[in-house]
Chain length 343, copies 2
């Protein structure tokens, strides 16, 4: 058993085995190159001492020397675990953890990144991004300056979620929103809907913008009419009124939590969903809600995105190569809030 005092170093092992620190390092790394030769008996002796003492290499020193430590950073702009956003982020993290585990990597959560009282920034006073070989970025909106800086410093990273260029192309794995939204619009129009609404910000970050774009393009391509309904500071009731005033028959709601609220409000007022109004949900809820409505919409492949981000990061670390940019298809969810236009 190890003495409780100071930690063992290769130097100690070397002393005990009667060899040099170099030899211990070579044995430890199982170097059998033509350049390096170690007598089997010496190797065995060193290995025995290592076994007996239970020595393990200090990962910090290793990283300093080798410039690599099989640690992947995970930066989230919001806290990872807190319940408010947990349901939304959990699947991404699940994928990230799975993949990291398979690759034998540890995950470093940059929980300390919060700048004084404000929202988190990647580069704060003494940033630890560099402790990891590379990192995965998570968050609805990612700071443009942070991205630019990551790119400029050549820090390997992959964003989960598409990002616009920030001085240079940003490596990402995103959800392919436009075709998913387009497919929903297609179906609605196929069921006779002509007056459609996009309910939500449709801007502010790439993902809402992408959905909005998909909506606009599809509406234009099919010759339907599309209106835009903002949700900020409005009750579900007010939204319903605006929809009805605009004679909308199918509402494409950016945030499923809003879709649920609107559905409830409608049913309270005796408005049938989807009989009188069809509701389409564009993604996964980012706020905690009891989703007791079987919403028609699509599924964001969050877990797959997490996995893929780690895979791409690994490739980036391995071989460098091109800036990876991938969009993963969203799967349509049948649900029961889309019906033919009321006659």
């Amino acid at each position: 058993m190890t003495a409780p005092g100071r930690r063992l170093t290769q130097q100690d092992i070397a002393r005990i085995a009667g060899v040099s620190q170099t030899t211990v390092s070579l044995v430890l790394n199982n170097r059998t190159d033509a350049e390096v030769r170690i007598a089997p008996e010496t190797r065995e002796r060193v290995l025995r001492v290592i076994r007996e003492t239970g020595y393990v290499a200090d990962p910090v020193a290793r990283r300093l020397a080798e410039r690599r430590n099989r640690i992947l950073g995970v930066f989230t702009y919001e806290a990872v675990f807190p319940t408010a956003s947990a349901d939304f982020y959990h699947p991404f993290l699940l994928g990230i953890e799975e993949c990291a585990e398979e690759m034998g990597c540890d995950l470093l959560l940059f929980t300390s990144a919060r700048a004084a009282g404000e929202r988190r920034r990647i580069f704060n006073e003494d940033s630890r991004v560099r402790l990891a070989d590379g990192c995965v970025l998570l968050g609805r909106a990612v700071d443009r300056d942070d991205l630019a800086r990551l790119l400029a410093e050549g820090i390997p990273f992959v964003s989960v979620g598409r990002r616009d260029d920030a001085g240079a192309p940003v490596p990402y794995v995103g959800a392919d929103y436009p075709p998913a939204v387009r497919a929903l619009v297609d179906r609605a129009v196929g069921l006779g809907h002509r007056r459609l609404a996009y309910v939500g910000a449709g801007a502010g970050a790439e993902s809402p913008a992408d959905r909005m774009r998909g909506f606009r393009e599809a509406v234009a391509a099919l010759g339907a009419e599309g209106v835009h309904v903002q949700v900020t500071d409005r009750t579900p009731g007010e939204l319903l009124e605006e929809l009805s005033a605009a004679r909308v028959t199918a509402a494409f709601v950016e945030e499923p939590a809003d879709a649920v609220a609107i559905t409830h409000a409608a049913r309270e007022r005796g408005l049938a969903i989807p009989g009188d109004l069809s509701i389409l949900a564009l993604g996964a809820p980012t706020r905690p809600v009891q989703v007791d409505v079987d919403l028609t919409g699509f599924r964001i492949p969050r877990r797959e995105m997490g996995r893929r981000a780690v895979e791409l990061l690994a490739e980036l670390l391995e071989s460098g190569g091109e800036t990876p940019q991938e969009l993963l298809a969203c799967e349509l969810v049948e649900g029961s809030t889309l019906a033919p236009i009321p006659s």
Copy 2:
């Protein structure tokens, strides 16, 4: 803007500012001791270069020299994120993350710790435990050898959940099960119950053992009768039969998921809960279940345990000191599955 090539070092900053690396380090660490003097203008010049280049110290090198890096390791014997156990672990992690963030620490998740195909071990071939300043251990059952080794190597750690000695006392923050179970037994006996059952393993790890102990002691102290019902490989129906055969009127169920299943099975058979049988749940579900029963029992202060573990770890790192061992009180949950004994 930084050149995309090699990373800046203090040496580079020193060269640019026309000073030595030492000076850069001193300025960076804002050392103003009596021993160390730097002319205001020199300091300003160095700071300007640092600002202009956006230099940040390499945390790895820092750690090697300083023997401290404000990284806390989190070791879980099961995967952290996967949904199966996510609901159980989430609150602990929430507390851990909160506290780490406040203290300006990052969290290192040892996801790579899985030994070849087997369950996780802390010390595998190249363990990274030591990358962190200290670590928090999470998991129902923690390997005794791992604990002994952590203690022997003097690695600072705090276990979430009480642990028996492993060669030496183990630092922990646990839930104080015995008084919580005792309080429930008290109430049951106060309501006339005399034949009580402990349903669950009651052994295998510290936490079930603690509950069992609380149960036994309370039953003995109050002069009631207690039986032990094992759950492994038994259907809820079989459990119910055993309970009824033993004329038990109040069942103390270790695992709330089982409590839910038993309640459902009972109601299906026309057995009233709590009219005919009272059900007490001892803690939080470790398996995913739809908890649609308002169980009487107690709440494990998981979030607080996470927080406290990090706080204690911090103290341990700061000042060394005694092996901290704390038990946090569980809060009783009223629920509606406890009623007076049927007459």
